[in-house]
Protein backbone atom coordinates (compact mmCIF):
# COMPACT_ATOMS: atom_id res chain seq x y z
CA UNK A 1 0.00 0.00 0.00
CA UNK A 2 2.66 2.52 1.04
CA UNK A 3 4.98 1.69 -1.85
CA UNK A 4 1.96 1.87 -4.20
CA UNK A 5 1.63 5.54 -3.22
CA UNK A 6 5.25 6.08 -4.23
CA UNK A 7 4.88 4.22 -7.54
CA UNK A 8 1.85 6.32 -8.46
CA UNK A 9 3.13 9.74 -7.39
CA UNK A 10 6.81 9.54 -8.39
CA UNK A 11 6.25 8.62 -12.07
CA UNK A 12 3.39 11.16 -12.20
CA UNK A 13 5.77 13.88 -10.99
CA UNK A 14 8.42 12.95 -13.57
CA UNK A 15 6.05 12.43 -16.51
CA UNK A 16 4.07 15.64 -15.92
CA UNK A 17 7.34 17.54 -15.40
CA UNK A 18 8.45 16.22 -18.80
CA UNK A 19 5.08 17.29 -20.21
CA UNK A 20 5.99 20.93 -19.51
CA UNK A 21 8.44 20.73 -22.42
CA UNK A 22 6.12 18.76 -24.71
CA UNK A 23 2.96 20.86 -24.67
CA UNK A 24 2.54 23.68 -27.18
CA UNK A 25 -0.05 25.39 -25.04
CA UNK A 26 1.25 27.66 -22.26
CA UNK A 27 -1.84 26.82 -20.18
CA UNK A 28 -1.21 23.08 -20.47
CA UNK A 29 2.51 23.48 -19.73
CA UNK A 30 1.72 25.48 -16.57
CA UNK A 31 -0.76 22.96 -15.26
CA UNK A 32 1.52 20.02 -16.14
CA UNK A 33 4.11 21.68 -13.92
CA UNK A 34 1.43 22.11 -11.24
CA UNK A 35 0.59 18.39 -11.36
CA UNK A 36 4.30 17.64 -10.97
CA UNK A 37 4.43 19.86 -7.86
CA UNK A 38 1.23 18.34 -6.44
CA UNK A 39 2.70 14.83 -6.83
CA UNK A 40 5.90 16.00 -5.10
CA UNK A 41 3.82 17.47 -2.26
CA UNK A 42 1.98 14.16 -1.98
CA UNK A 43 5.34 12.37 -1.73
CA UNK A 44 6.37 14.69 1.12
CA UNK A 45 3.14 13.83 2.98
CA UNK A 46 3.84 10.15 2.26
CA UNK A 47 7.29 10.59 3.86
CA UNK A 48 5.60 11.78 7.07
CA UNK A 49 6.21 15.50 6.52
CA UNK A 50 2.51 16.41 6.50
CA UNK A 51 3.00 20.14 7.03
CA UNK A 52 5.68 20.61 4.38
CA UNK A 53 3.76 18.51 1.84
CA UNK A 54 0.49 20.35 2.41
CA UNK A 55 2.18 23.74 2.22
CA UNK A 56 3.86 22.75 -1.07
CA UNK A 57 0.41 21.91 -2.48
CA UNK A 58 -1.09 25.15 -1.12
CA UNK A 59 1.64 27.47 -2.35
CA UNK A 60 2.19 25.80 -5.71
CA UNK A 61 -1.48 25.96 -6.73
CA UNK A 62 -1.51 29.71 -6.11
CA UNK A 63 1.89 30.26 -7.71
CA UNK A 64 1.10 28.27 -10.85
CA UNK A 65 -2.24 30.06 -11.34
CA UNK A 66 -0.47 33.43 -11.08
CA UNK A 67 2.23 32.10 -13.42
CA UNK A 68 -0.41 31.01 -15.93
CA UNK A 69 -1.77 34.58 -15.97
CA UNK A 70 1.69 36.02 -16.75
CA UNK A 71 2.68 33.26 -19.19
CA UNK A 72 -0.43 33.92 -21.23
CA UNK A 73 0.00 37.68 -21.00
CA UNK A 74 3.60 37.63 -22.24
CA UNK A 75 3.98 34.64 -24.58
CA UNK A 76 3.03 34.63 -28.22
CA UNK A 77 0.74 31.76 -29.16
CA UNK A 78 -0.32 31.06 -25.55
CA UNK A 79 -2.97 28.48 -26.39
CA UNK A 80 -0.73 26.48 -28.73
CA UNK A 81 -3.29 26.79 -31.53
CA UNK A 82 -0.59 27.50 -34.12
CA UNK A 83 2.13 24.82 -34.02
CA UNK A 84 5.52 26.37 -33.42
CA UNK A 85 8.66 25.27 -31.67
CA UNK A 86 10.41 27.39 -29.09
CA UNK A 87 13.28 24.96 -28.63
CA UNK A 88 16.80 26.09 -29.54
CA UNK A 89 19.90 23.97 -30.08
CA UNK A 90 17.98 20.73 -29.75
CA UNK A 91 20.88 18.29 -29.98
CA UNK A 92 23.17 20.27 -27.66
CA UNK A 93 20.55 20.77 -24.95
CA UNK A 94 19.58 17.10 -25.11
CA UNK A 95 23.22 16.05 -24.70
CA UNK A 96 23.73 18.46 -21.80
CA UNK A 97 20.60 17.33 -19.96
CA UNK A 98 21.33 13.61 -20.42
CA UNK A 99 24.91 14.14 -19.20
CA UNK A 100 23.72 16.15 -16.18
CA UNK A 101 21.14 13.48 -15.31
CA UNK A 102 23.73 10.72 -15.61
CA UNK A 103 26.21 12.66 -13.47
CA UNK A 104 23.65 13.25 -10.71
CA UNK A 105 22.41 9.64 -10.80
CA UNK A 106 25.98 8.28 -10.59
CA UNK A 107 26.61 10.68 -7.71
CA UNK A 108 23.60 9.33 -5.82
CA UNK A 109 24.71 5.73 -6.36
CA UNK A 110 28.42 6.05 -5.52
CA UNK A 111 28.19 8.44 -2.53
CA UNK A 112 28.93 6.65 0.78
CA UNK A 113 25.76 7.84 2.56
CA UNK A 114 26.06 8.06 6.36
CA UNK A 115 23.84 5.86 8.50
CA UNK A 116 20.99 7.51 10.32
CA UNK A 117 21.91 8.96 13.70
CA UNK A 118 19.03 9.51 16.14
CA UNK A 119 15.30 8.95 15.63
CA UNK A 120 12.80 11.07 13.66
CA UNK A 121 10.94 13.60 15.84
CA UNK A 122 7.54 12.56 17.16
CA UNK A 123 5.92 15.66 15.68
CA UNK A 124 7.75 16.79 12.55
CA UNK A 125 5.66 19.97 12.23
CA UNK A 126 6.59 21.07 15.75
CA UNK A 127 10.27 20.27 15.17
CA UNK A 128 10.21 22.31 11.96
CA UNK A 129 8.63 25.26 13.76
CA UNK A 130 11.22 25.10 16.54
CA UNK A 131 14.07 24.95 14.03
CA UNK A 132 12.76 27.94 12.03
CA UNK A 133 11.74 30.07 15.00
CA UNK A 134 14.66 29.05 17.25
CA UNK A 135 18.20 28.73 15.86
CA UNK A 136 17.19 30.12 12.43
CA UNK A 137 15.17 33.08 13.77
CA UNK A 138 17.69 35.68 12.60
CA UNK A 139 17.74 34.13 9.11
CA UNK A 140 13.94 34.20 8.94
CA UNK A 141 13.71 37.81 10.14
CA UNK A 142 16.33 38.92 7.60
CA UNK A 143 14.59 36.96 4.87
CA UNK A 144 11.25 38.49 5.82
CA UNK A 145 12.60 42.03 5.61
CA UNK A 146 14.39 41.33 2.32
CA UNK A 147 11.25 39.85 0.73
CA UNK A 148 9.05 42.65 2.02
CA UNK A 149 11.47 45.33 0.74
CA UNK A 150 11.57 43.56 -2.64
CA UNK A 151 7.77 43.53 -2.87
CA UNK A 152 7.43 47.20 -1.92
CA UNK A 153 10.20 48.12 -4.36
CA UNK A 154 8.63 46.13 -7.19
CA UNK A 155 5.23 47.73 -6.62
CA UNK A 156 6.76 51.23 -6.48
CA UNK A 157 8.63 50.61 -9.72
CA UNK A 158 5.64 49.04 -11.47
CA UNK A 159 2.91 51.53 -10.58
CA UNK A 160 2.63 54.60 -12.77
CA UNK A 161 0.50 56.51 -10.27
CA UNK A 162 1.74 57.77 -6.95
CA UNK A 163 0.18 59.73 -4.11
CA UNK A 164 0.71 63.07 -5.88
CA UNK A 165 -1.40 61.82 -8.79
CA UNK A 166 -4.10 60.75 -6.36
CA UNK A 167 -4.14 63.57 -3.79
CA UNK A 168 -2.78 66.48 -5.85
CA UNK A 169 0.49 68.44 -5.51
CA UNK A 170 -0.26 69.56 -1.95
CA UNK A 171 -1.70 66.13 -1.01
CA UNK A 172 -4.97 67.84 -0.03
CA UNK A 173 -7.38 66.60 -2.70
CA UNK A 174 -10.28 64.62 -1.17
CA UNK A 175 -11.57 62.24 -2.44
CA UNK A 176 -8.47 61.13 -4.38
CA UNK A 177 -8.61 61.14 -8.17
CA UNK A 178 -8.65 57.44 -9.04
CA UNK A 179 -9.32 55.94 -12.48
CA UNK A 180 -11.97 53.63 -10.97
CA UNK A 181 -14.57 55.19 -8.69
CA UNK A 182 -15.59 53.66 -5.40
CA UNK A 183 -13.61 51.69 -2.89
CA UNK A 184 -12.35 52.30 0.61
CA UNK A 185 -12.51 55.87 1.92
CA UNK A 186 -14.68 57.32 -0.86
Amino acid sequence: MTSAVFWVLAPLAVVSGFGVFRFNSMARATFALLISFLASGGLLIWLGLAYLGTVVILMMVMEMVIMAVFMIAYMMNPAGLMPMSMLHNRRGSLAISVAAFALLAVGILVTPWPHRAGAPPRDATFALGEALMGPQMLTMITLGFALFATMVGAVVLATHRGRYDRFGDDLKRRPPADPARGGVGQ
Binding site: S25, A27, R28, F31, L34, A50, Y51, T54, V55, I57, L58, V61, M62, M64, V65, I66, A68, V69, A79, L81, D123, T125, A180, G182, G183, V184, G185
Partner: protein, 312 residues
Protein backbone atom coordinates in the same frame (compact mmCIF):
# COMPACT_ATOMS: atom_id res chain seq x y z
CA UNK B 1 -12.03 12.67 22.61
CA UNK B 2 -12.32 12.62 18.84
CA UNK B 3 -11.21 9.35 17.27
CA UNK B 4 -10.11 8.64 13.75
CA UNK B 5 -12.49 6.35 11.90
CA UNK B 6 -11.15 3.47 9.75
CA UNK B 7 -9.98 4.18 6.22
CA UNK B 8 -13.27 3.16 4.56
CA UNK B 9 -14.98 6.07 6.31
CA UNK B 10 -13.41 8.37 3.69
CA UNK B 11 -16.10 6.97 1.38
CA UNK B 12 -18.80 8.19 3.80
CA UNK B 13 -17.57 11.81 3.56
CA UNK B 14 -18.92 12.53 0.03
CA UNK B 15 -22.26 10.93 0.93
CA UNK B 16 -22.63 13.00 4.10
CA UNK B 17 -21.42 16.16 2.37
CA UNK B 18 -23.87 15.58 -0.50
CA UNK B 19 -26.72 15.15 2.02
CA UNK B 20 -25.93 18.48 3.71
CA UNK B 21 -25.52 20.09 0.28
CA UNK B 22 -29.00 18.85 -0.68
CA UNK B 23 -30.32 20.60 2.44
CA UNK B 24 -28.52 23.79 1.42
CA UNK B 25 -29.89 23.69 -2.14
CA UNK B 26 -33.39 22.93 -0.88
CA UNK B 27 -33.21 25.84 1.57
CA UNK B 28 -32.10 28.10 -1.27
CA UNK B 29 -35.00 26.92 -3.44
CA UNK B 30 -37.37 27.51 -0.53
CA UNK B 31 -36.20 31.10 -0.13
CA UNK B 32 -36.41 31.66 -3.89
CA UNK B 33 -39.97 30.31 -3.94
CA UNK B 34 -40.95 32.50 -1.01
CA UNK B 35 -39.47 35.57 -2.66
CA UNK B 36 -41.48 34.83 -5.83
CA UNK B 37 -44.64 34.01 -3.90
CA UNK B 38 -44.80 30.47 -5.33
CA UNK B 39 -46.04 27.39 -3.45
CA UNK B 40 -43.25 26.26 -1.13
CA UNK B 41 -43.64 22.47 -1.37
CA UNK B 42 -42.79 22.29 -5.07
CA UNK B 43 -39.92 24.75 -4.84
CA UNK B 44 -37.87 22.52 -2.56
CA UNK B 45 -37.62 19.59 -4.99
CA UNK B 46 -37.01 21.69 -8.10
CA UNK B 47 -33.16 21.75 -7.88
CA UNK B 48 -32.97 18.01 -7.26
CA UNK B 49 -35.28 17.39 -10.22
CA UNK B 50 -32.73 19.36 -12.27
CA UNK B 51 -30.10 16.65 -11.71
CA UNK B 52 -31.50 13.94 -14.05
CA UNK B 53 -32.37 16.61 -16.62
CA UNK B 54 -28.80 17.93 -16.65
CA UNK B 55 -27.35 14.41 -16.75
CA UNK B 56 -29.42 13.61 -19.82
CA UNK B 57 -28.90 16.97 -21.55
CA UNK B 58 -26.44 17.38 -24.38
CA UNK B 59 -23.02 18.89 -23.77
CA UNK B 60 -22.27 22.18 -25.44
CA UNK B 61 -19.20 22.21 -27.63
CA UNK B 62 -17.30 25.28 -28.75
CA UNK B 63 -14.85 26.06 -31.52
CA UNK B 64 -11.26 24.93 -30.76
CA UNK B 65 -11.70 24.24 -27.04
CA UNK B 66 -9.04 22.76 -24.78
CA UNK B 67 -11.05 19.72 -23.67
CA UNK B 68 -8.34 18.34 -21.37
CA UNK B 69 -8.04 21.46 -19.20
CA UNK B 70 -11.77 22.16 -19.45
CA UNK B 71 -12.86 18.79 -18.02
CA UNK B 72 -9.95 18.65 -15.57
CA UNK B 73 -10.85 22.10 -14.24
CA UNK B 74 -14.55 21.28 -13.89
CA UNK B 75 -13.80 18.01 -12.08
CA UNK B 76 -11.36 19.76 -9.71
CA UNK B 77 -14.11 21.89 -8.13
CA UNK B 78 -16.31 19.13 -6.56
CA UNK B 79 -13.19 17.03 -5.81
CA UNK B 80 -11.73 19.98 -3.88
CA UNK B 81 -15.00 20.30 -1.95
CA UNK B 82 -14.98 16.63 -0.93
CA UNK B 83 -11.24 16.54 -0.12
CA UNK B 84 -11.51 19.63 2.08
CA UNK B 85 -14.34 17.94 4.01
CA UNK B 86 -12.22 14.85 4.80
CA UNK B 87 -10.62 16.53 7.84
CA UNK B 88 -13.87 17.91 9.34
CA UNK B 89 -14.80 16.00 12.52
CA UNK B 90 -18.45 14.96 12.75
CA UNK B 91 -19.35 14.56 16.40
CA UNK B 92 -16.73 12.26 17.93
CA UNK B 93 -15.38 10.77 14.69
CA UNK B 94 -13.38 12.15 11.81
CA UNK B 95 -12.50 10.43 8.55
CA UNK B 96 -8.90 11.58 8.75
CA UNK B 97 -7.39 12.96 11.93
CA UNK B 98 -4.60 14.62 10.03
CA UNK B 99 -2.13 16.47 12.27
CA UNK B 100 -2.25 19.53 9.98
CA UNK B 101 -5.97 19.41 9.13
CA UNK B 102 -6.39 23.21 8.99
CA UNK B 103 -3.58 23.56 6.43
CA UNK B 104 -5.04 20.66 4.43
CA UNK B 105 -8.46 22.35 4.33
CA UNK B 106 -6.84 25.55 3.12
CA UNK B 107 -4.81 23.73 0.45
CA UNK B 108 -7.81 21.83 -0.89
CA UNK B 109 -9.94 24.98 -1.00
CA UNK B 110 -7.14 26.72 -2.97
CA UNK B 111 -7.37 23.93 -5.60
CA UNK B 112 -10.46 25.77 -6.83
CA UNK B 113 -8.15 28.54 -8.10
CA UNK B 114 -6.61 26.13 -10.58
CA UNK B 115 -9.92 24.38 -11.27
CA UNK B 116 -11.89 27.51 -12.04
CA UNK B 117 -9.16 29.12 -14.09
CA UNK B 118 -8.91 25.95 -16.23
CA UNK B 119 -12.71 25.72 -16.47
CA UNK B 120 -12.75 29.33 -17.67
CA UNK B 121 -9.89 28.82 -20.13
CA UNK B 122 -11.10 25.48 -21.56
CA UNK B 123 -14.09 26.41 -23.75
CA UNK B 124 -12.18 29.10 -25.73
CA UNK B 125 -14.94 31.57 -24.97
CA UNK B 126 -14.36 35.13 -23.85
CA UNK B 127 -17.18 35.17 -21.30
CA UNK B 128 -16.01 32.12 -19.39
CA UNK B 129 -12.36 33.22 -19.68
CA UNK B 130 -13.24 36.57 -18.07
CA UNK B 131 -15.10 34.59 -15.40
CA UNK B 132 -11.98 32.55 -14.68
CA UNK B 133 -9.81 35.65 -14.42
CA UNK B 134 -12.39 37.26 -12.14
CA UNK B 135 -12.13 34.30 -9.79
CA UNK B 136 -8.33 34.58 -9.67
CA UNK B 137 -8.59 38.32 -8.91
CA UNK B 138 -11.11 37.54 -6.19
CA UNK B 139 -8.82 34.79 -4.90
CA UNK B 140 -5.94 37.22 -4.47
CA UNK B 141 -8.26 39.33 -2.34
CA UNK B 142 -9.96 36.73 -0.14
CA UNK B 143 -7.12 34.26 0.45
CA UNK B 144 -4.86 36.18 2.86
CA UNK B 145 -7.63 37.32 5.25
CA UNK B 146 -8.91 33.72 5.23
CA UNK B 147 -5.46 32.39 6.09
CA UNK B 148 -5.17 34.76 9.05
CA UNK B 149 -8.68 33.77 10.21
CA UNK B 150 -7.63 30.10 10.14
CA UNK B 151 -4.37 31.01 11.92
CA UNK B 152 -6.38 32.76 14.66
CA UNK B 153 -8.39 29.60 15.39
CA UNK B 154 -5.28 27.39 15.22
CA UNK B 155 -3.30 29.74 17.47
CA UNK B 156 -6.17 29.90 19.98
CA UNK B 157 -6.10 26.10 20.29
CA UNK B 158 -2.32 25.85 19.78
CA UNK B 159 -3.01 23.07 17.29
CA UNK B 160 -3.34 22.58 13.54
CA UNK B 161 -5.48 19.49 14.15
CA UNK B 162 -9.16 20.34 13.52
CA UNK B 163 -10.43 17.98 16.23
CA UNK B 164 -7.89 19.52 18.64
CA UNK B 165 -9.24 22.99 17.82
CA UNK B 166 -12.81 21.80 18.45
CA UNK B 167 -11.93 20.27 21.83
CA UNK B 168 -9.96 23.37 22.91
CA UNK B 169 -13.26 25.33 23.05
CA UNK B 170 -14.53 23.64 26.19
CA UNK B 171 -15.17 26.81 28.14
CA UNK B 172 -15.63 29.45 25.48
CA UNK B 173 -16.41 29.09 21.79
CA UNK B 174 -13.90 30.80 19.53
CA UNK B 175 -16.67 32.75 17.82
CA UNK B 176 -17.11 34.72 21.08
CA UNK B 177 -13.56 36.02 21.36
CA UNK B 178 -12.59 35.85 17.65
CA UNK B 179 -15.61 37.56 16.04
CA UNK B 180 -13.54 39.25 13.31
CA UNK B 181 -11.91 35.95 12.30
CA UNK B 182 -15.35 34.28 12.17
CA UNK B 183 -16.85 37.02 9.99
CA UNK B 184 -13.86 36.96 7.63
CA UNK B 185 -14.08 33.16 7.46
CA UNK B 186 -17.77 33.25 6.51
CA UNK B 187 -17.11 35.85 3.82
CA UNK B 188 -14.33 33.64 2.46
CA UNK B 189 -16.70 30.66 2.29
CA UNK B 190 -18.87 32.69 -0.11
CA UNK B 191 -15.68 33.61 -1.98
CA UNK B 192 -14.31 30.13 -2.63
CA UNK B 193 -17.74 28.83 -3.58
CA UNK B 194 -18.30 32.01 -5.69
CA UNK B 195 -21.84 32.34 -4.41
CA UNK B 196 -23.81 35.31 -3.07
CA UNK B 197 -21.75 38.50 -2.81
CA UNK B 198 -18.84 36.71 -4.51
CA UNK B 199 -20.85 35.44 -7.46
CA UNK B 200 -18.93 37.91 -9.64
CA UNK B 201 -17.06 35.21 -11.69
CA UNK B 202 -20.45 33.78 -12.72
CA UNK B 203 -22.15 37.19 -12.82
CA UNK B 204 -25.20 38.12 -14.85
CA UNK B 205 -23.25 40.96 -16.43
CA UNK B 206 -21.12 38.25 -18.09
CA UNK B 207 -24.09 36.13 -19.21
CA UNK B 208 -23.11 33.59 -16.58
CA UNK B 209 -19.32 33.93 -16.85
CA UNK B 210 -17.91 30.62 -15.68
CA UNK B 211 -21.26 28.97 -16.48
CA UNK B 212 -21.78 30.63 -19.87
CA UNK B 213 -20.59 27.72 -22.03
CA UNK B 214 -21.66 24.88 -19.73
CA UNK B 215 -24.65 22.64 -20.28
CA UNK B 216 -25.66 19.14 -19.28
CA UNK B 217 -23.30 17.16 -17.03
CA UNK B 218 -20.61 19.88 -17.19
CA UNK B 219 -22.98 22.43 -15.72
CA UNK B 220 -24.11 19.96 -13.08
CA UNK B 221 -20.50 19.27 -12.02
CA UNK B 222 -19.64 22.95 -11.58
CA UNK B 223 -22.90 23.90 -9.88
CA UNK B 224 -22.69 20.89 -7.55
CA UNK B 225 -19.03 21.72 -6.90
CA UNK B 226 -19.70 25.27 -5.72
CA UNK B 227 -22.51 24.14 -3.42
CA UNK B 228 -20.35 21.31 -2.05
CA UNK B 229 -17.65 23.90 -1.30
CA UNK B 230 -20.18 26.15 0.45
CA UNK B 231 -21.36 23.23 2.59
CA UNK B 232 -17.82 22.06 3.37
CA UNK B 233 -16.99 25.64 4.43
CA UNK B 234 -20.08 25.72 6.66
CA UNK B 235 -19.12 22.34 8.13
CA UNK B 236 -15.58 23.53 8.86
CA UNK B 237 -16.90 26.63 10.69
CA UNK B 238 -18.38 24.32 13.36
CA UNK B 239 -15.10 22.82 14.73
CA UNK B 240 -13.15 26.04 14.09
CA UNK B 241 -15.41 28.56 15.80
CA UNK B 242 -18.58 26.93 17.19
CA UNK B 243 -17.22 24.33 19.61
CA UNK B 244 -17.53 21.29 17.33
CA UNK B 245 -19.88 18.63 18.70
CA UNK B 246 -20.10 20.18 22.17
CA UNK B 247 -23.57 20.87 23.55
CA UNK B 248 -26.08 19.73 26.20
CA UNK B 249 -28.45 16.71 26.04
CA UNK B 250 -28.00 15.70 22.40
CA UNK B 251 -25.13 13.41 21.30
CA UNK B 252 -22.07 15.02 19.69
CA UNK B 253 -22.93 14.01 16.11
CA UNK B 254 -26.37 15.59 16.45
CA UNK B 255 -24.84 18.87 17.64
CA UNK B 256 -22.40 18.80 14.74
CA UNK B 257 -25.32 18.31 12.34
CA UNK B 258 -27.47 21.01 13.97
CA UNK B 259 -24.65 23.58 13.95
CA UNK B 260 -23.67 22.76 10.36
CA UNK B 261 -27.27 23.18 9.17
CA UNK B 262 -27.52 26.46 11.10
CA UNK B 263 -24.40 27.87 9.38
CA UNK B 264 -25.67 26.59 6.01
CA UNK B 265 -28.99 28.39 6.55
CA UNK B 266 -27.18 31.58 7.57
CA UNK B 267 -25.06 31.48 4.41
CA UNK B 268 -27.99 30.62 2.13
CA UNK B 269 -30.10 33.39 3.64
CA UNK B 270 -27.27 35.93 3.38
CA UNK B 271 -26.64 34.97 -0.24
CA UNK B 272 -29.96 36.58 -1.23
CA UNK B 273 -29.49 39.61 1.01
CA UNK B 274 -26.03 40.79 -0.03
CA UNK B 275 -25.17 42.57 -3.29
CA UNK B 276 -22.54 41.14 -5.64
CA UNK B 277 -19.11 42.73 -5.06
CA UNK B 278 -16.80 43.71 -7.89
CA UNK B 279 -13.42 41.97 -7.50
CA UNK B 280 -11.35 45.18 -7.64
CA UNK B 281 -13.46 46.79 -4.92
CA UNK B 282 -13.23 43.73 -2.70
CA UNK B 283 -9.47 43.54 -3.32
CA UNK B 284 -9.10 47.09 -2.00
CA UNK B 285 -11.28 46.37 1.02
CA UNK B 286 -9.41 43.12 1.67
CA UNK B 287 -5.93 44.61 1.50
CA UNK B 288 -6.64 47.93 3.20
CA UNK B 289 -9.13 46.86 5.89
CA UNK B 290 -9.49 43.09 6.25
CA UNK B 291 -5.83 41.99 6.30
CA UNK B 292 -4.88 44.50 9.04
CA UNK B 293 -8.04 43.50 10.91
CA UNK B 294 -7.24 39.79 10.58
CA UNK B 295 -3.62 40.35 11.70
CA UNK B 296 -4.86 42.34 14.70
CA UNK B 297 -7.24 39.48 15.51
CA UNK B 298 -4.43 36.91 15.30
CA UNK B 299 -2.21 39.14 17.45
CA UNK B 300 -4.94 39.48 20.09
CA UNK B 301 -5.36 35.69 20.14
CA UNK B 302 -1.60 35.19 20.43
CA UNK B 303 -1.39 37.66 23.35
CA UNK B 304 -4.28 35.98 25.16
CA UNK B 305 -2.70 32.55 24.70
CA UNK B 306 0.70 33.85 25.86
CA UNK B 307 -0.66 35.47 29.02
CA UNK B 308 -3.22 32.87 30.11
CA UNK B 309 -1.54 29.80 28.61
CA UNK B 310 -4.78 28.85 26.85
CA UNK B 311 -8.28 30.13 26.20
CA UNK B 312 -9.57 33.02 28.34
Amino acid sequence: MVTSAPLWSVLVVPVLLAAFTAVAVAADALLAARADGRRLSMGVVAPLAEVPRLLAAQRRTTLAPDPLLWRLGLATVPVAGVLSAVVIPFGQVTASRMSVGVVWFNAMEVLTWAGLWMAGWGPNSVLSLVGGYRFVAQGLAYELPLMFALISAAAGAQSLDVAGIASAQGRLWFVVWMPAAFAIYLASVYAFSFLGPFGYPAGRDLAGGMLAELSGPDRLVLQAGRWLLLTAGAGMAVPLFLGGGAGPLLPAWAWSAVKTVAVVFLLVWGRRRLPVLRADRYAELAWVVLIPLAIAQALAVALVVLTTGGTP
